[in-house]
Amino acid sequence: MPGLSEAFGLALGLVLAGDAALTRIVALSLRVSLTAVLVAAALGLPLGALLAVARFPGRQTVIVALNALMGLPPVVAGLLIYLLLSRSGPLGSWGLLFTPTAMVVAQAVLITPIVAALARQVLESMWEDYAEQLRSLGSSALRAVPTLLWDGRIALLTVLLAGFGRASAEVGAVMIVGGNIEGFTRVMTTAIALETSKGDLPLALALGMVLMAIVLTVNAAAQLLREWAARRLG
């Protein structure tokens, strides 16, 4: 096993040289996690908005369940998707197990509750401010959903970034349903886990650097966006 400083040097070299294997892994990670975020946005944002404005029996239960699902352990999500998609499972005939699609599904399952629950919180406090005025102008609760989604766009974008952060950093779910197949379903987190256990620290460290850089960039972007929006939109 090389020394730590040597490993760092090699890792930096891989990143700077744009190593082909490294690039492929990073690209797949981004593709899987961004797609999962799109799916989670399409499902979670309207769900969160509806829960924010609608009043129906059982609403509180749904909210509690959603909040609990925010803490769903990735390996459990992975296991459930695995059981669904495995050859003997109910969706086994789709042949999705150990494909990037299965990884997208797993991450989407993981972060849709996060997006929905956070969106619900953001939009419900907005609705408290807006409800009387919007109803006075003739808006029904349902009609208020697009109004709230658009008015909360900046806060909701940071909600999606939080979802992206969670999706791109998790390892358990994609490991189980993707299988960490080289060149096909190997993403940053599963590669780091594998290379570390094999003792190939330079590649693990290089991937770790890229992952950190992505997460930091995303968070910095979220912060800048919030500040810009506060100045521009109030």
Partner: protein, 235 residues
């Protein structure tokens, strides 16, 4: 001005409202006719805001009824204006869209309404970034753009400085002069004197007096109104 059957007189009969076991309004009966502004006065907690919300339809009465003579195009201005996170023009456009006003008609209505409140230059500014006084004037423009037959205002200048209050009062007087029935709450008797054509005084959720302004301020009949005008504390 509107070319539609007038929703007035508005007849309110035996109106009662209970919230959380508290009787906010009780047996409120009066009629509102076309004419100069009706100022709803009374001490804090007398039920002024609740009455406005019941008339506007934001609350359902526990007892009694609010009867319009014809369907009423109405708008309401709140103490704290709620502006959407978009430009002034888009805020007005959103209200017009909810009112079912077609896209082609909106720009002219928006321009006229912003002219009426003296803020045409703020059309493209983010509404939330304006001062409280400017936001209240934009809220007035939003109401004006709807061409309401009735405009309810709930303490519209309670959180404004004197200059902004004057601006709001001038705009409200202008709206009334153009034929919209103005119904406005205030706890400020001076403001009521400046604007009122008629006064409806509430006390403990009941109508203490409903009279033309000249009469109310010179020879009030009810003991509550007499005490209120003297500046006594009414409980």
């Amino acid at each position: 001005m509107h070319g539609l059957p007038s929703p007035l007189p508005l007849s309110v009969q035996g109106l009662g409202f209970t919230a959380g076991g508290v009787r906010v309004l009780d047996g409120v009966t009066f009629a509102l006719r076309d004419g100069p502004p009706c100022l709803v006065v009374g001490p804090n907690g007398s039920g002024k805001s609740t009455l406005l919300r019941l008339l506007h339809g934001l609350l359902r009465p526990t007892e009694g009824a609010v009867r319009w003579s014809a369907p009423a195009r109405q708008a309401m201005l709140f103490q704290r204006p709620v502006m959407l996170r978009r430009s002034v023009g888009d805020n007005l456009a959103h209200a017009l869209s909810l009112a079912g006003i077609g896209r082609d008609e909106r720009p002219a209505r928006i321009a006229a309404a912003l002219d009426a409140v003296g803020l045409p230059h703020l059309h493209d500014r983010p509404a939330r970034r304006l001062s409280g006084g400017e936001q209240q004037r934009v809220a007035l423009a939003r109401a004006i753009a709807l061409h309401p037959a009735i405009l309810f205002l709930d303490e519209p200048s309670a959180s404004l400085d004197p200059a902004a209050t004057r601006a709001v009062e001038e705009i409200v007087a202008g709206i009334a002069a153009r034929g919209t029935k103005v119904v406005m709450t205030t706890h400020d008797l001076h403001q009521a004197r400046r604007l009122a054509g008629e006064v409806l005084m509430l006390h403990r959720g009941r109508v203490a007096e409903h009279a033309p302004a000249a009469e109310f301020f010179t020879c009030p009949r009810s003991p509550e109104a007499q005490a209120f005008l003297r500046g006594d504390i009414l409980e």
